[in-house]
Structures are given as structure tokens and as C-alpha cells.
């Protein structure tokens, strides 16, 4: 699907990870993240093992490390917050390179950094091996309320259309000499956004008419159930099962 134009998060391929049904991958990623979050932050070795697990999945899926690292910039705001913690948190201090840091703050920072990074990498691998459309199908099969998946499906379809309209409006503004220079120009941009909203709203009405004309009665037709086999579930369970073992071990070994 989507040859040539596919989503920038997606990395086309035919590996075992790519071929797994989307609902299996979604459940696997959520279960993995839960195991990571449940791990005590002091057990650093456990986080190392989680990273090894993810690296193994990325290897099987042929997702190069550079691809994952570049997309980890989404995590930057959290990292910035985490790095502040050792300086602002209270409690006993430790000296690191001559700077007094809060011990609990340092642990909190590590906690956020490690868990958020592992979660982000898991999501990036999921997105790299599953097309956005397939993800929505997976959510649908996991009995996500149909209204939510329908909204997301339409967003996926119309994002390009709305972005195109936005681009044309910007060109039209610029062609008549408008350049956003200072705060007062915000009013113009605000009106453009209002116009864009109205246009999208009207398009929504026309789309609805077209749907009703083809027999829409409030429910999207379910075409093919795409149920996963036991073997596929088992394959998808490998990652969260290993993570669960590590999480359990970390609790047993914790002082």
C-alpha cells in the first residue's frame, strides 16, 4: 500500500515483524511498555536487557539504528525536563564533577529517561513496521470504539487535503504581499485558520452526503475480520513475555 508516498515513519519491508497482524503488535508493544514501567528504577541491568530485546526486534525487522535514533527527537521535551530534575529536586545531595545534585532527583531523571526512551523506541519500531492504516485496523479489531477509529481514519485520509488547502491559502496571502512580521499579524493568521476550519467543516458535510448516497447508515461496513492465528499471537508475545520475566526478576532481586 501507498507505494512511493508512504508515511515517513513507515519503513516498507516484508520481515516477520512487518507481516504480524497489527492487533498482535499493538498488544505486544503495550504489554512491553507496561513491563518496563513496572520495573524498579534502581535495577539498571533490567533496562539494559530491555534495550537488548528491542535491538533484537529491530534487527529482525531490519530497522537500522540510525532510523530509530533520528526519530527519537520526539522525546526531546521529556529529556529536557528530566535533565532539570537533579538540580531542582530536594533531599540528600551527591557530588558529581563538583556539582551537588539531588540524589532522588538523579534517580527520577534516570527513571524518566530510561523508561521514556524504551517506550519511544518500541513505538518507533511499531510505526516503522506497520502502516498507519493497518494500525487503525488493528485498533478496530481490538474492539476500540468504532467512532474513534472512524475519526482517525478520516484524519489519515484528509490530512493531506487540509494541508494542501493551508498551503494554497498561504500562497494566496503571500501573493498579495502579506508576511507575518509582528504580533499584530496574528489576527490575519487567526482569520486564515478560521476560514480553514469552515472549509473543512463544509467538506465534512459534503463527504457525509457522499457517504449517505452510498448507503451509509452510521456504521462502517466491516470487510474481512483479519483474525490473527495462534502462531502469530505466540510470535508477537515473545517480546512482552521476555520483558515480563525481566520485570519479575527485577522485583525479586530488588533489595
Amino acid at each position: 500500500m501507498g507505494a512511493g508516498h508512504a508515511h515517513s515513519l513507515y519503513l516498507a519491508g516484508g520481515t516477520l515483524v512487518h507481516r504480524l497482524p497489527p492487533q498482535c503488535k499493538l498488544v505486544a508493544v503495550v504489554a512491553f511498555v507496561l513491563a518496563v514501567v513496572a520495573t524498579p528504577r534502581e535495577e539498571m541491568w533490567a533496562f539494559g536487557l530491555y534495550a537488548v530485546l528491542l535491538a533484537a526486534v529491530a534487527g529482525v525487522a531490519r530497522v537500522p539504528p540510525g532510523f530509530v535514533l533520528r526519530r527519537m527527537v520526539v522525546e526531546v521535551p521529556f529529556v529536557a525536563f528530566a535533565l532539570l530534575l537533579p538540580f531542582v529536586a530536594r533531599g540528600p545531595r551527591v557530588e558529581v564533577l563538583g556539582v551537588a545534585l539531588s540524589e532522588s532527583g538523579a534517580w527520577s531523571a534516570w527513571n524518566i529517561l530510561a523508561k521514556a526512551s524504551l517506550g519511544a523506541v518500541a513505538m518507533i519500531i511499531l510505526a516503522a513496521t506497520t502502516e498507519p492504516r493497518a494500525l487503525l485496523l488493528g485498533l478496530e479489531r481490538l474492539r476500540m470504539p468504532a467512532l474513534l477509529t472512524q475519526i482517525a481514519t478520516f484524519m489519515l485520509r484528509y490530512l493531506d487535503v487540509i494541508m494542501g488547502e493551508m498551503r494554497r491559502m498561504r500562497v494566496a496571502r503571500a501573493s498579495r504581499g502579506f508576511e507575518a512580521r509582528d504580533v499584530r499579524d496574528l489576527a490575519v493568521l487567526g482569520r486564515s485558520i478560521g476560514a480553514l476550519f469552515l472549509r473543512s467543516y463544509e467538506r465534512g458535510e459534503r463527504v457525509y452526503l457522499a457517504m449517505v448516497s452510498r448507503g451509509y447508515d452510521g456504521r462502517m461496513p466491516v470487510i474481512g475480520d483479519g483474525a490473527a492465528t495462534a502462531r502469530q499471537w505466540t510470535a508477537a508475545a515473545l517480546l512482552p513475555a521476555a520483558a515480563a520475566v525481566i520485570a519479575a526478576a527485577s522485583w525479586i532481586l530488588a533489595p
Binding site: 500500500m1 501507498g2 507505494a3 512511493g4 508516498h5 492504516r133 487503525l136 481514519t153 478520516f154 489519515l156 485520509r157 484528509y158 493531506d160 487535503v161 467538506r203 459534503r206 463527504v207 452526503l209 457522499a210 457517504m211 449517505v212 448516497s213 452510498r214 448507503g215 451509509y216 447508515d217 461496513p221 470487510i223 474481512g224
Partner: protein
């Protein structure tokens, strides 16, 4: 369905919008099976209002509409579903018509709403795409097709429902000359009753032996297309104009 019922039979149709604007003042039209008819008229003549009556989206005025002998009755949900199968409307903007993430899913939307599943649904989709020559784009998202391709896929979404009458709203708008000709070839090759709403008089002359002029909410003329287009006074009375250089007399000789 009686075998000899006309594809479309409109009797005394009058309609006023809820805000009081009267759009139709008693429209009478009969279109026989297999006919190709153009509905011409200036902007604001009520063409779109008329089209939305054909499948019961607008209703509540006077008069009756019958499609293949079945009366459009908005209160009868079951017959309304059959009406919407029989009347295939292709809207002007293919981005409104194509709302699903892939072409295949979009073409399947209508027949799936009719309850078709499995191989029968597959057959309908591939059949409809084949009839407009778009089978090889089945797995692509609509937003990645050219405008002409999208218009052809929009026709396929309606053909997949095997309609009694195909209604096209401004089919030639925004098409480049080559796409315009390709669409004409496709439409001429279809074995289906056709009602085409348009301002594009040469296109009407090329595709439809018969034309109606809707003006001021009534049918102002109903005659062979080339006869209508040769009547300069009639055209100018209803704000219709032939493009520069188009001569109906020449078109008649080459037809």
C-alpha cells in the same frame, strides 16, 4: 422492478429549503432505460437540489420521484437503501467522494453497505475498477492519484453498486483535455442510464443525445442536445453560452 419502468420518473417535484428559499417549482422529467441525458442550467438553477432528491437526501416538498418504478419514500428505510443502490451519484469534488484510506476500500464501501462480502464483494470492486481502467491503483490511497484518476475512481465507487442510473455532477470540471476525453470514452462505453449535470455544453453534445435545461426551478427545455445548442436565443435566455469556436452545426456533421 417492472421490466419496462423508466429509469427515472419525476412528477411535479417542488421544493423549498427550510429557510424559505424556493428552489424547484414543479419539475417533470422522464428518462428511459439506457438513455444519456444532460441536465443544463445556470448556477443557482436548482440542479444540485434536483440531484439530491433523486436518492432521497432532500425531501419534504411536493411531487414524486420514481427510480426504475420504485418510489423514493424517505420514511421507508428499506426501500431507501434500494433507492440509493439504484441511483449512483458522482459528486463534483472527488476528494469528497473518496473518503476511505485506499481505493479498494472506497470502491467496496457501497456494495459492503448493501451487505456483500467475500468473493462477491471482491468481484464487484475489481469489475468496477476495470470498467474505468483503474484496476492497477486499487491499493493506493486516493490522495496520491492524479485528479483525472480520482474522478474515474469516483465513477467506479458508484458503478460497484450496479446502479439503475448514473448521475454525474459536473464530470468534466477541472479535468485537463486528455483526462476529459478519457472520461468521455469511459462513459460512452458504459451500458447504463446516464444523467449528467453540466455547464460544459460541448461535453453534453458529445455524450448525451438529449438535454434538459433547468432554469428558475422548472424544466425550460427538453430536446435533442444539438437542437438546443443551435438555438442561440434559448441559450442566452438561460445564461448558457457556447465556448468560443464551438459550432453545433459542425458537431452535428462529425457526430
Amino acid at each position: 422492478m417492472t421490466a419496462d419502468a423508466a429509469s427515472l420518473e419525476i412528477k411535479g417535484l417542488a421544493y423549498a429549503y427550510p429557510d424559505g428559499t424556493q428552489a424547484l417549482y414543479g419539475v417533470d422529467v422522464t428518462i428511459g432505460r439506457g438513455e444519456r441525458v444532460a441536465l443544463l442550467g445556470p448556477n443557482g438553477a436548482g440542479k444540485t437540489t434536483l440531484v439530491l432528491h433523486l436518492n432521497g437526501i432532500l425531501h419534504g416538498g411536493l411531487g414524486s420521484v420514481r427510480v426504475g418504478g420504485l418510489e423514493v419514500d424517505p420514511k421507508d428505510k428499506k426501500s431507501l437503501r434500494e433507492i440509493r443502490r439504484r441511483v449512483g451519484i458522482v459528486f463534483q469534488d472527488p476528494d469528497d467522494q473518496l473518503f476511505m484510506p485506499t481505493v479498494r476500500e472506497d470502491v467496496a464501501f457501497g456494495p459492503a453497505n448493501l451487505g456483500l462480502r467475500g468473493p462477491e464483494l471482491e468481484r464487484r470492486v475489481s469489475d468496477a475498477l476495470g470498467r474505468v481502467g483503474m484496476r492497477d491503483v486499487a491499493d493506493r490511497p486516493p490522495q496520491h492519484l492524479s485528479f483525472g484518476q480520482r474522478r474515474r475512481v469516483a465513477v467506479a465507487t458508484v458503478l460497484a453498486m450496479e446502479p439503475e442510473i448514473l448521475v454525474l455532477d459536473e464530470p468534466s470540471s477541472n479535468l485537463d483535455p486528455a483526462s476529459r476525453r478519457e472520461l468521455a470514452e469511459i462513459l460512452l462505453g458504459l451500458d447504463v442510464t446516464l444523467l449528467m449535470v453540466t455547464h460544459d455544453l460541448p461535453y453534453a453534445a458529445e455524450l448525451c443525445p438529449r438535454s434538459l435545461i433547468l432554469s428558475g426551478g422548472v424544466i425550460a427545455a427538453d430536446a435533442p442536445t444539438l437542437d438546443l445548442l443551435s438555438d442561440g436565443d434559448l441559450l442566452s435566455a438561460h445564461r448558457l453560452e457556447l465556448p468560443f469556436g464551438f459550432d453545433p452545426a459542425v458537431a452535428r456533421r462529425t457526430a
